[in-house]
Amino acid sequence: MTSDALLFDYLLRLADSDLILAQHLGEWIGHGPVLEEDIALTNVGLDLLGQARLWFGYAGEVEARFASRGRSEDELAFLRDASAYRNLLLAEQPNGNYAQTIARQFYFDVWHQLLLAQLAHSRDARVAEIAAKGWKEVRYHVERSAAWVIRLGDGTGESHAKIQSAIDDLWMYTGEMFEADATERTLIAEGIACDAPALAAAWHEQVGAVLEQATLITPALAWMQSGGRRGVHTEHLGHLLAEMQSLQRAYPGVRW
C-alpha cells in the first residue's frame, strides 16, 4: 500500500469512532434523564460529529490522490458496509442505561484527549490542525464524563452498583485503544499517526485516579477484545448502521 492509502485508512479509524459514538449519543435525544443532561450529552455528540466530518473531508481528499476519485463525506459516512468501518468496538457498544453510556464515554474521552494532544503535533499539517481543534472540545468532554463517573460511583447504593458493573463490562473493549497494527506502525514511524501503545500508561493513571475518587474498583487487566480496526465488529454495529444509513440507502445522494 502507498502511504496515502495507509493514511486514508488511518483517517477512517479516527472518523469512524467519532461518527459511531455520535450516532449512539444522538439516540439519547428526547430520552435523557433530565432536560439539561439531554442537551449536554447530545452537545458532546454534535462535537464528535463535527470532528468526524473534518476527518472524512480530509480522508476523501487523500483518497483522490491514489484512487480514481475521492469519496464525499456522505458516501464515506453512510454508504459503506459494516466490515468497512474502522471504529473502536467501544464506540459501537449500545447505550444501555445511563451508567453504561457514561462509562463508555469516560473511557473514550480520556483516550481521545490523549490521542488528539499527540496528533496535534503530527507531521501531517492537516491532521495536526484538525486534532488541535478537536482537542479543545474533548478537554471539556473528559471533565464532564469524569464528573459523572464520580457522581454515580460516590452516589447512592444503586448508582454505585450500576456504574461499577458498566465499568467492568466495558473494560474488555479498552485494550484495543492501545494497539498499533502494521498500518499504524508505518505512520507512527513517519511521524504522522499517534503512538497509541504509548498512551496506555497515562490513560490507566487518569482512569484509575477518577475511579478511585468515585469509590469504584478498577478492573484487573484481563483478556481484551479487538477487531474494529480490521472491520471485525460486534453485532451492535449492524443495527446502528441500519438506522443511521436508512435515508441514504433509500434515497441515494439525497440532500437537504
Binding site: 439539561e36 442537551i39 449536554a40 452537545n43
Partner: protein, 94 residues
C-alpha cells in the same frame, strides 16, 4: 426522597466590561453541575465569558402583591427623569 433536582438561576457575562445578566434557570444536583449544565444550555453560541449560578431558593424577591406600594409612587414623578435639561446639539450619545 427528593425526586427533582433543585432549581438554579443562571447569570452569564457576555463580554468583558458588562455585568452578569440573568438568562434563565435550570435544574442541577449542585453548583458544580449547575455551571456545567449552564455551559451546555446557555453558552453554545459563544455567548459567555463567565457564569454565575445561584440557588433559586436563595433569591429573595419582592412580592407581586406589593407592586403598588413599591412602585406606584414613582409613576407621577416624571421630574425624576433627567429629561428637563436642554442639551447642546454638539453633545452626542446622551
Amino acid at each position: 426522597m427528593q425526586v427533582e433536582w433543585p432549581l438554579w438561576e443562571i447569570f452569564i457575562r457576555s463580554q468583558h466590561g458588562l455585568a452578569h445578566k440573568h438568562v434563565g434557570s435550570l435544574h442541577a444536583a449542585d453548583a458544580e453541575m449547575a455551571i456545567k449544565n449552564a455551559r451546555d444550555v446557555y453558552t453554545r453560541r459563544n455567548e459567555g465569558v463567565s457564569i454565575w449560578v445561584v440557588a433559586s431558593a436563595d433569591v429573595s424577591a419582592s412580592a407581586p402583591g406589593e407592586k403598588e406600594p413599591l412602585f406606584e409612587p414613582a409613576n407621577s414623578k416624571v421630574y425624576r427623569h433627567p429629561t428637563f435639561f436642554p442639551m447642546p446639539d454638539e453633545v452626542k450619545h446622551i
